[in-house]
């Protein structure tokens, strides 16, 4: 990363951008796979990617200009048009909203005389929303020029407004704004480990030890990203796949709203993550690894890089690791740029290759044709931690933790209506009710397990257990008490999916937008039974024909809340069977805005 790149802005002299580009290419070379990394740097340096900059990048990488624009326009944090010197993005997860983020954003817009989504006329700033920033335990949160600010209050928002007005450089903003707490309330196997780094690796290199893959297979370890694929089988398939190179990729694109465990693992246990990756490399025969870090966690980049350097210095990375001749492995960090879909492993690989994050057709799977079409093992941050610990403890001991089909522990990211939101590590098999008790939640109406793409459960199901047998989870655990309107929760998630659809396939690209329209229609008081049927119809289409999991699960929040909290929907319906989607009075909104009128005469009669 460039030192304090945020201090240089879009309207800076061209020579500054030139210097910046020189520096970037000195770092990344003319390698096409670095396109996204290069674009990230230009964005940070210049505030947007101008046509000149894009053309220069295209020429240097020997790719069409259209491809540079195509890639840049895929990612939310990259801009081809100026977005202001200060780009403010309010995190828009339901947990942020429950803490008042919408009101705070409106107050900031009023203070700075600005409409959301627009750039101020003096080019000073823009204010908009972004998908969950992974700060649900200390929200509401926002990003300003990519830097995260937590625990927003009205006072803090007004201070930020003042700093922007005064054009105070970000580096001079109060440090406590940017403070991120770990909020670990319950540590276990992973968060309480007392390993010396390099220990597991050293043991694995001893002659006569149990081979890594066998041991992982026997431990019963399954992926912690949600799908729960057996890790040992994945590594074995990767090792056995023919290829000139093998790769190890750590998926740190933690984008599922309500999930923030990887944030804490990368803060506290970075060494353990890298140790797990190195063990995987040893097992599958990889020489290169990547950590794909979501753009929202950019603030962790430098510390992670420092950990990698320490490991290189200790010969835990690099050539002939720990003296083992021929065991060469190193890890590069790639930054995402605001695209939830890149959490899908094949989309992540596309993004690593410097492309649009569009999920690939499968088969072939990444274990046979992944990064640059070579065998690639992609695993979640937590999975690598668990793998290292399973190897250290031995398969039998590890298997004894958790349940029969879900061995080991799981980090749960608790947020929402409870006094102690944060990270809780439990052995698999813990009940929802137990987690609720530990975090102090009372009057709980519902819990959203594993984020919007997971399941929403009501009180009658709080006895269910977290684990692959019952409730598989990537870690999100959002609590809603009886003051919450579950329809609004589902509507927030539907907006999220529409915003994050990659747009590749018809059903998801169009269907998620249609679903959003229908939910908004109901919210506006124009919904009828017809619309509920329409939702079920869209669900069938999305589930049966979407290209990837995003589309296939996009209806889940609606279906689950409809199942448990149908009155929340029905209360909003008109009694009619059908009401046109076209809102006649709504169509006059622009005319009202232009004439500055909002009196009764400016509305159609008879519209409630």
């Amino acid at each position: 990363m460039l030192p304090d790149a945020n201090l240089i802005y879009g309207d800076s002299p061209k020579c500054e951008l030139d210097a910046c580009l020189q520096h970037i290419f000195a770092t990344y070379g003319n390698n096409k796979t670095n396109l996204l990394q290069i674009l990230n740097e230009v964005q940070a340096c210049a505030g947007h990617i101008s046509t000149d900059a894009a053309a220069y990048i295209a020429a240097r990488l020997d790719i069409p200009l259209a491809r540079v624009k195509s890639v840049a326009s895929f990612y939310s944090f990259l801009h081809l048009q100026p977005q202001g010197e200060y780009r403010v993005l309010f995190s828009d997860n339901i947990t942020d909203r429950m803490l008042g983020s919408q009101d705070l954003m409106q107050r900031m817009c009023q203070q700075l005389w600005l409409q959301p989504g627009k750039v101020s006329e003096d080019g000073l700033l823009s204010i908009n929303t972004t998908s969950c920033t992974g700060m649900c335990d200390q929200g509401p949160a926002l990003l300003v020029n990519g830097k995260v600010i937590t625990r927003l209050t009205l006072q803090r928002v007004q201070e930020i407004g003042q700093l922007i007005r005064n054009r105070t450089p970000l580096a001079a903003w109060p440090a406590e704004f940017f403070h991120v707490d770990d909020n670990v309330y319950r540590a276990g196997l992973v968060l309480g480990n007392t390993l010396t780094y390099g220990e597991v690796l050293r043991n694995s290199l001893q002659p006569g030890g149990v081979p890594i893959i066998d041991s992982i297979k026997q431990s019963g370890l399954r992926g912690r990203g949600g799908a729960g694929y057996p890790t040992g089988l994945k590594w074995e398939a990767c090792r056995n796949a023919p290829g000139a190179e093998h790769y190890v990729v750590c998926n740190a694109d933690e984008g599922e709203p309500g999930t923030f465990k990887d944030r804490v693992l990368l803060t506290r246990q970075a060494d353990l993550v890298f140790e797990g990756m190195t063990l995987c490399a040893l097992a599958v025969g990889a020489r290169q690894g990547f950590l794909y870090l979501r753009g929202e966690y950019q603030y962790l980049f430098e510390s992670l890089r420092a950990v990698l350097q320490c490991r290189r210095n200790a010969n835990l990375l690099g050539r002939d690791i720990l003296g083992q001749i021929g065991f060469d492995f190193d890890i590069e960090i790639h930054l995402g740029a605001g695209a939830y879909i890149c959490g899908e492993e094949s989309a992540l690989i596309e993004s690593l290759e410097g492309k649009r994050g569009v999920p690939r057709n499968r088969p072939p799977f990444p274990v046979t044709e992944g990064y640059l079409q070579q065998p690639t093992a992609v695993d979640n941050v937590e999975t690598f931690c668990q793998a290292a610990l399973a190897l250290q403890m031995g398969a039998e001991k590890y298997r004894a933790i958790g349940t029969a089909k879900s061995s080991g522990s799981k980090l749960i990211s608790v947020s929402g209506d409870c006094p102690r939101p944060g990270i809780y590590e439990y052995p698999f098999g813990v009940s929802v009710g137990e987690v609720l008790r530990d975090c102090g939640a009372v009057n709980t109406r519902a819990v959203q397990i594993s984020g919007p793409s997971g399941v929403c459960i009501g009180e009658s199901e709080f006895g269910r257990k977290l684990g692959f047998e019952d409730l598989p989870t990537a870690g999100a655990f959002m609590v809603f008490d009886d003051s919450r309107d579950m329809f609004e929760v589902a509507r927030n998630f539907v907006h999220f999916f529409a915003h994050e659809s990659c747009g590749f396939c018809t059903p998801c690209r169009v269907g998620t937008s249609m679903l959003k329209q229908t939910m908004d229609k109901i919210a506006a008081g124009h919904g009828t039974r017809y619309d509920l049927n329409e939702i079920e119809h869209l669900d069938q289409v999305l589930q049966s024909s979407s290209h990837c999991g995003l589309g296939r699960t996009a209806c889940n929040p609606v279906l689950h809340t409809l199942k448990h909290f149908r009155p929340a929907y029905e209360n909003k319906l008109k009694s009619l069977d059908f009401e046109p989607a076209f809102d006649l009075d709504g169509a006059l909104a622009r005319a009202r805005q232009m004439t500055g009128r909002d009196d009764a005469g400016a509305h159609l009669k008879g519209d409630e």
């Binding site: 396939c505 059903p507 249609m514 289409v541 024909s545």
Partner: protein, 243 residues
């Protein structure tokens, strides 16, 4: 002896490496499709060719053919799904057939007729997609783009020019051209390019020839698309195969 799979109860022979769609078309069986083109590697974005295999629904153009697969395509349920997908594509863009010069040669329109899409089904989105009429010989009408990427693929793989690309994400996804000005006139496209020939709808149009063939006498005015798609499929020339 080559392997076979079942398609709607009929035996279909395939060669290794073929997908279900490729094998089906080669053998003379039609599966509705839009983004699939026999001369290009299938990529499976329109999802119109979705079929059911062992209880799973999957795009047939990218599904590798395997011996003894039991594929269902021509079912009421799947055709209803296809109808909805066509409605979605119509609602997403600005498709006004009566004034479109591609009418009668348009695959989207032809599929709409063939699959009996009688209603709009969805609220139309009316996106704002300005035309690009900058090129002296070629018009781009983005209103009709269904994002099938065929022009992108043709320009890159056949013409070696990369004139087209897709930009944006989700419902904001759109077609762009490879020029600093963003205008077609500043690209190296030529009327003879493959990219000029593959658009299934009316986005990429040569100027001044729009109505040379009158409406009513065009390709899909003659026979429905299901009866014609097989004409485009690669087939072994008759008698060329020696047993």
């Amino acid at each position: 002896m080559s392997d076979t799979f079942q398609l709607d109860g009929k035996e279909v022979a395939f060669e290794s490496g073929q997908t279900v769609m490729q094998a089906a078309l080669t053998a003379g069986h039609y599966i509705p499709h839009l983004c699939y083109h026999p001369e290009f590697k299938p990529h499976g974005s329109c999802k119109l060719c979705t079929v059911e295999v062992g209880g799973r629904t999957v795009a047939s153009c990218t599904l590798p053919a395997e011996a003894n697969l039991n594929v269902e395509s021509n079912t009421g349920e799947l055709n209803a799904l296809r109808r909805t997908l066509i409605q979605m594509l119509f609602a997403e863009g600005n498709h006004f057939c009566p004034s479109c010069e591609k009418s009668g040669n348009c695959m989207l329109q032809a599929l709409g007729y063939d699959l009996e899409v009688h209603t709009a089904g969805f609220r139309h989105m009316y996106p704002d997609r300005p035309l690009d009429a900058s090129h002296p010989d070629i018009l781009l009408d983005f209103n009709r783009c269904i994002l099938c990427e065929l022009c992108v693929r043709a320009s890159a793989e056949v013409d070696g020019k990369n004139v087209f690309a897709l930009a944006g994400r989700g419902s904001g996804k759109h077609l762009i051209v490879n020029a600093e000005s963003g205008l077609l006139k500043d690209t190296n496209i030529a009327l003879t390019d493959k990219a000029m020939q593959v658009c299934p709808v009316g986005v990429i149009l040569p100027k001044r020839v729009g109505f040379t063939v009158p409406i009513g006498e065009r390709r899909y005015d003659q026979r429905p698309i299901s009866a014609q798609a097989l004409d485009d499929a690669p087939r072994p020339p008759s008698g060329a195969r020696h047993e």
